[in-house]
Amino acid sequence: MQPTDVSDPRYFHKVVDCQWACPAHTNIPEYIRLIAQGRFTESYMLNRKSNVFPGILGRTCDRPCEPACRRGRVDGKPVAICRLKRVAADYRDDVTPYLPTAPTQKNGKRVALIGAGPASLTVANDLVPLGYHVTIFEKLDRPGGLMRTNIPSFRLPAKVLDEECGYIINMGVDIRYSTPVASLKKLLDDGGFDAVFVGSGAPRGKNLDVPGRYDSDKIFIGIDWLESIHFGHTTKVEPTVLIIGVGNTAMDCCRSAKRLGATSVKVIGRKPRKYFKASPWELEDAEEEKVDILEDLSPVRFVYEDGKLSGMEFERFKSVEKDGKLRQEKIDNIILPADVVVLAIGQENAFPWIERDIGLEFKDNMPVVDKATFMSTRPGVFFGGDAAWGPENIIWAVEHGHQAAISIHNHCQGVAVTDRPKQGQNLSSTKMGLHEWSYSNDYSGAARAKMEHVDLTKRLTSLTMEVELGFSIEQTKAEVERCLNCDIQTGFVTKACIECDACIDVCPMDCLTITKNGEEPELRTRLLAPAKNQKQELFLSFDLKQTGRVMVKDEDVCLHCGLCAERCPTHAWDMVKFELFHPHAGEKQSCSK
């Protein structure tokens, strides 16, 4: 195996599992440390740098960071990263003095953004401070896009949404509400824009064309139904409701139904629960509100009595897993009663307003968009968010926005969109004395903090009462200490090592081994603790000078406690803080590689 090249920022970045998993590469350990120090405003601003909407995402993010969190591999429960983000937002002071501002001198370039969702707002956030004139065209009368119309207010209060959209719009974005773009061709021809960004989302809910679909006005498409609830067009619902689909939209629909007066709400999934698309915590939250979640049922037809919708017929399956593959065998058919059926089986894109003869190539009704540059086949037209490759989530939309902004900036400045600023890293020692480090290195055995909810009977009376109460200061204090500070890396200097074994003996997780070098698969088997998690890297030193063996570290379950560095007599180990430089539009490459 070759010695590890730690000058490539990807190595240490990958060790920070949460940051690596976050599409926007938010510096999570650092923002958690800032919270630990009570520096909520700074923590909020650090979040905002990467993910732009800390208050919104602190409530609604899909949290790819949490399943990745190393703590989950150590004691089974990841750090409550997402809700700590909300803590930073909840306890922050006025951040307006620290927000980016537009320069008085504009650069003369005009950019149009279509849709005022998270992707477009991120593009605006990155380009306005660089002097661009940014115009957003939004079909509704308020900003936020899907964040506003699809996420119920009991999960995301309007105030939070307004505030964080406002931070961007108030920089001086020229936003045109209630102005849907009817023709991209016209916008390109007559708009006078140097670049156009399409961030219009995936606004069409999928239909379920089974017999009886069009014989009732009590059958709704999930996202449309949520939108009509949001705008107050739907204010009540009949007692018995079936929700078809088990994604996060289905969860929002069933919980909304409960608040609109439904007494029996059932969510129907075609597969067993472990295959459901909804996040586990969303399923739990729905069940807490006495929603029934049923599995192994496939819709056959709508059932009518005296011309009135009375239920739905399903095929019932028995699921067996064989060789990791799901096999479903039909048992029988059943009918479940329903006054209302909501179809929440997914979303798709719709671009009726984009002409197909303007040099913008489509394939299978989707625009052809470059994965790295976000540019379509027509130079100057960019896509991002759900509009680019179909439904994802908010945090992906934000990162798409950042990347598209880099391309737009390049395009407007006459630089190739493929000529992108590179990632870099900054490494600095955290040593503050013989046994002191600039981070809290002791391991806390505390259990993951549990989010408190508003009392059940109380919460179901209102569509806007936020269910989650947020973490208290006491909960926060305990939760921040659960973070393992994975960005504080174990830096190793081969030539200083005298092979005394002190680090190996003291390591609580048996991460370290000094042994003969070999090929990686074989080397993994003869470490002090076998390195079975292939997703986690091995660090390999150069040949040690006294015996020619190598120091090997399995990164998998390192606690970053710093004991190896404390017990090292020669400073061969040091606890080194890693900062990723993940450039946004207009940012230069860092000084280190």
């Binding site: 004691d75 002191e436 003291v506 997780m509 007599p569």
Partner: protein
């Protein structure tokens, strides 16, 4: 030393031994020795050895004297018995404890100062008496606790960190043990656990006095260029005579293909020490040869390591004294103190 305690969490794959304990259950308090001290590595090797032998920590007694080495019993087997004696007097305490209760596993930890200077006389007598214990001499050639003066094991001509040369001859603990009739003599190096752990296991299972001289560098005062007990010097001059494999009784003993060149020594409990010869002619059961071999190699500046000598038919203190075969605490009071009449009868025999 280190401020935080070693976190209690462990690797998910950490194994349990036959009595349901993990290696972590054999640890002690955090070390307060200098970072990188060889003694901590010996502690690490002992933890491995005790765990691999499935020994119950509460059936072990740890004894030591004074010095850096003698602090280390605190750092392993926190559930064992322990006694920190007066400087150099650990052998007396160990002899007494063993005399009273032969059922415990005894381990003595000492250093070159504790064993070869102030406690040399004590060491000689515990060797003669063949007290059943593992005696580890953590040998670094300096008095670390008093800032690095030469100890009795420092080689003639080796340099102190400040530069002055040692004018006196060294006492070689292993050779001393051989001349005094030790039944198990080994030398190893703290920086080589692959060798040290099997030797410690064999020593723990040997019936009689098992003397293990471990070169254990002092990183603070004796790990520099002029030292003959540094990590680098020891590694450069190591001369391994045999590779020891300890096979406990409960494991099936299968002979390797090259059985002829792999001599074995069967211990009293049926377990086996198997040697892989590295130095072709070396025979660890030939005491005279062992002694001359050590002298030869020492002259050329080599540090001979491995199991140097073992006597398969060792008789320990209790065998020689024909004592009762159980701990005194288990002997009924009436037998232990048979009363005035029995005493009078006994005395009458000598009149």
């Amino acid at each position: 030393m280190t401020y935080i305690a070693k976190p209690k969490v462990h690797h998910p794959s950490l194994q349990k031994n036959a009595i349901g304990l993990t290696r972590r259950d054999y640890e002690g308090a955090m070390s307060t020795l200098c970072a990188g001290c060889g003694h901590d590595s010996v502690t690490g090797a002992l933890i491995h050895a005790f765990w691999e032998l499935d020994l119950e920590p509460h059936r072990v007694a740890k004894l030591s004297g004074i010095g850096c080495s003698s602090k280390t019993p605190t750092y392993f087997l926190k559930n064992a018995h322990g006694f920190n004696s007066v400087h150099g007097r650990m052998p007396s305490i160990a002899t007494g404890a063993n005399a009273a209760n032969q059922d415990l596993t005894y381990i003595g930890i000492s250093g070159d100062g504790d064993s070869l200077s102030i406690g040399l006389g004590q060491l000689c007598h515990i060797i003669r008496r063949n007290v059943n214990m593992l005696y580890v001499l953590e040998n670094n050639g300096v008095y670390g606790l008093t800032k690095g003066q030469f100890s009795a094991s420092a080689d003639r001509g080796s340099l102190a960190k400040r530069g002055e040369a040692n004018p006196f001859e060294a006492i070689d603990g292993a050779m001393l043990a051989l001349t005094l009739g030790a039944t198990f003599v080994a030398r190893s190096f703290s920086g080589d656990k692959e060798q040290l752990v099997p030797i410690l296991k064999a020593g723990l299972k040997h019936k009689g006095f098992a003397f293990v001289d471990v070169i254990s560098p002092c990183v603070t005062f004796n790990d520099h260029d002029g030292s003959t007990k540094s990590y680098a010097h020891t590694r450069e001059h190591l001369h391994e005579v045999d590779d020891v494999d300890f096979v406990p009784l409960r494991k099936e003993i299968s002979l390797p293909a090259d059985a002829g060149s792999t001599p074995e020594v069967r211990l009293h409990d049926g377990s086996v020490i198997r040697f892989r010869r590295i130095d072709g002619n070396y025979d660890p059961t030939d005491k005279d040869r062992a002694y001359s071999y050590l002298r030869e190699r020492a002259k050329s500046g080599e540090v001979v390591t491995g199991l140097l000598y073992v006597s398969p038919d060792s008789l320990d203190l209790h065998d020689n004294n024909k004592t009762v075969k159980k701990p005194l605490t288990e002997v009924p009071y009436e037998e232990l103190v048979p009363g005035a009449a029995t005493l009078a009868k006994l005395q009458k025999r000598y009149r």
